[in-house]
């Protein structure tokens, strides 16, 4: 069956450290992958998109990798801040119209 797996347990880190979140998928062949941030009671907000022929993408303190052989994407936040605390969702782009989301990983950054 098709699955997108993100760590369901919350990730707790200290301010200033690098947070690394994992997204694994099976039985999909996405050409693109996106990461979103969702705060409680709010809609997701787009962060980054990475294409299958890109190994890595950066935006300010964010970095995403995409390994189509391992069927895995890693999302890094360097120099994390308490304001980075939120749930982070990965989404596979299946065709130009549809996104399939993982369940998300909650990140808690302590001061």
């Amino acid at each position: 069956s098709q699955k997108i797996e993100q760590n369901s347990e919350a990730l707790n880190i200290q301010e200033g450290k690098t947070a690394t979140l994992t997204c694994n998928y099976t039985n999909y062949s996405p050409a693109y992958l996106q990461w979103y941030r969702q705060d409680p009671g709010r809609g997701p907000v787009f962060l980054l998109l990475i294409r299958e022929n890109e190994k890595e993408k950066r935006k300010e303190r964010l970095k995403v990798t995409f390994d189509t052989t391992l069927k895995q994407s890693l999302f890094h936040i360097t120099a994390s801040q308490p304001a980075d605390s939120a749930t982070y969702l990965c989404a596979l782009v299946l065709g130009f119209q549809k996104l399939v989301f993982g369940t998300g990983t909650r990140l808690l950054v302590s001061p």
Partner: protein
Amino acid sequence: SQTIHQWPATLVQPVGSPLSLECTVEGTSNPNLYWYRQAAGRGLQLLFYSVGIGQISSEVPQNLSASRPQDRQFILSSKKLLLSDSGFYLCAWRAGQAQLIDEQYFGPGTRLTVT
């Protein structure tokens, strides 16, 4: 700039009652529109998407329906709600340009509780 609105923000409805959730987008034309549901502890599930007026694609068989009566208006409906319809309903849009992969923009959501 573009803005997406959803209403109501919260809704409590009894089982068997009808439902109508509305989503409107401002500042863009011919957007692709999407309805998602997020149940507690679960990921976003795509329910419907639309690439134009009157064009609706359903992703999951259920007792919900969607309509797009105007270019920037998307409505989610049900004739009789079930307990399992409870959840956080999100509307989203993206630029309606074929072959272009880009992000989706989400509305503030409607929290539906069916009692």
